[in-house]
Amino acid sequence: MLRVRGLTKRFGGLLATDDLDLDIWVGELHALIGPNGAGKTTALAQIAGEILPTAGSIHFDGVDISRDSAPARVGRGLARTFQITQLLHTFTTEDNVALAVQIRCGHSFRFWADVHRDQTLRKPALEYLERVGLSSRAQALAGELSHGEQRQLEVAVALATKPRLLMLDEPLAGLGPAEAAEMVGLLRRLKGQIAILLIEHDMDAVFDLADRITVLTSGRRIAIGPPNEIQCNADVRAAYLGEE
């Protein structure tokens, strides 16, 4: 479904992504792990179209999307969440989701009708909030939500773009045990319905959820395979898991 070849990103002298190959299969939950500074988020940003790679190609469903803008890629079915939540803080929780639904429904050169009374936006928005377990907070401002709730909202907004590949950048970071368990439950429910690329530091969650794992260090892929193989891989243990 997603096919990345020779992806390279150079920031001056720093090689953030080094000749990265990555394949994500339909319906797979693929985890991308690696120590801090390994270039996981940079790789994700290039796939999402926010950063242009120095070299390499990205194909999605057989189409070369390497030069597409970030919004165009969302239109093709690629959505992402952010490590540092990017929400519209003065909008309500529901409005954040409704806006994503609205954009999916075509152009927004409609100047008169009130979006808050538009059931074609409200109903789907509430359904997405229901799915991530936030429907009780629909009318709260996004800026008022707890950190964990904001993470859930990020996922709801991404889902509202109807992605076929969802890329999650550390969805568990900073969550308490209960919130983290809730998020893992959500990911488990999503798994199989859509393809997921998961960047995460919580190894228990990664080994529990992932179908396959790619390991990065200094922008290079050092291993790829199912969780049990990765756990036994000597390079990975040395580079990353060994110290634990």
Binding site: E50, A100, Q102, F111, W112, A113, E144, V157
Partner: protein, 346 residues
């Protein structure tokens, strides 16, 4: 108030506070509108007929300031050249009136006009079109570059009209009279007052409506977080440009009113200090509040008028007054009045 849970209580407090704020806001708007509607009669009854003229001027600047707030406050586009569209609208009325009076058509083809139904829409459309073209260029930049490039284009227009000797250059152009609605001349100050009030009220109402539309949601979202907007699949450029164009058109309409009010147009209307003054009105009144900039315009025009009658160094007094006003009404006069300033500071 019972507190079922920490989370539940915070929702309850917010919606209750929101409702009280909402009612207070509606109350202030209704009272403000009633005062403005009654003002010409009060002015006549109390023997201060000139007050009507002063408030007309305040409302014209109010319209221009609200249109700037639409892009600056709502859309997050800090334009430092908004007076260009204000001046342009004024010049459209001035030039059309000139050709109507002189009897010779513009460029030998376009006849002039003194009619409201022609001159005012023309002012609106010309300003909007120029805003569309300049906005298309300016919006390719952001941040400080955007501020500077809007300022630069406004100054280009300013110097263009300064050097346009045929229409008076920097001496400006005097209109023989106000525009005409069929046989009624707008010379009647009370009629003109109510027209200005009507247009201001209609524009503010339209803007309020716009905020809750699909278009308004995109523009507000874009001003808050471009990254988020890209991640949900929208490139905001054309929506911001549409917003910039609407604001330009409204400023042009305000300019058309100004030309009629003063029966005089000059390049000074589009000078950068005028753009700065519109910005001060917006900031003082409350950025992004739409009603606030009207208060800002009332305060600035009011101060200017009273202080100039006291001393020619009136700006010496205006400066400190503005500094104090900004310091003590953080978030603007409107938020102070409606009790939102504390929430704003948080």
């Amino acid at each position: 108030m019972s507190q079922p849970s920490v989370g539940g209580a915070s929702i309850g407090q917010w919606s209750a506070a929101g409702m009280i704020d909402g009612r207070r806001r509606t109350g202030i708007v209704v009272i403000g509108a009633l005062v403005l509607i009654a003002l010409p009669w009060i002015a006549v009854a109390s023997g201060h007929a000139a007050l009507t003229l002063l408030v007309t001027r305040m409302m014209i600047y109010g319209l221009a300031a609200v249109s700037l707030d639409l892009i600056l406050g709502i859309g997050g586009m800090i334009s430092f050249g908004h007076a260009a569209y204000f001046g342009l609208g004024a010049y459209v009325v001035g030039i059309l009136a000139y050709h109507s009076g002189a009897g010779e058509p513009m460029f030998g083809v376009l006849p002039g006009s003194n009619l409201v139904v022609i001159a005012w829409p023309a002012a609106l459309i010309v300003s909007a079109l120029v805003a569309l073209v300049l906005g298309a260029l300016c919006l390719r930049t952001e941040g400080v570059s955007f501020i500077m490039i809007t300022l630069a284009f406004a100054q280009v227009l300013y110097f263009f009209f300064v050097s346009l000797k045929f229409y008076g250059g920097d001496d400006g152009l005097i209109l023989r009279g106000r525009n005409v609605v069929s046989e009624y001349d707008l010379r009647n100050p009370i009629l003109f007052y109510y027209i200005c009030f009507g247009l201001l009220a209609a524009f503010v109402a339209t803007c309020r409506r716009l905020l809750d539309s699909r278009f308004g949601q995109i523009v507000q979202g874009a001003s808050q977080n471009e990254r988020r907007m890209a991640a949900i699949g929208v490139s905001t450029y054309r929506y911001k440009l549409a917003c910039f164009t609407i604001a330009g058109g409204a400023a042009g309409l305000a300019g058309a009113l100004m030309a009629n009010y003063a029966r005089f147009v000059s390049p000074d209307l589009m000078h950068w200090t005028e753009s700065g003054q519109l910005m001060v009105m917006v900031i003082l009144g409350g950025v992004g509040t739409l009603f606030g900039p009207i208060l800002g315009a009332i305060l600035i025009v009011g101060l200017e008028t009273t202080l100039t009658s006291l001393t020619e160094h009136w700006k010496f007094i205006l400066g400190p007054v503005l500094v104090l006003a900004v310091l003590f009404t953080r978030g603007g006069l409107w938020r102070l009045l409606t009790g939102q300033s504390r929430a704003f500071n948080q």
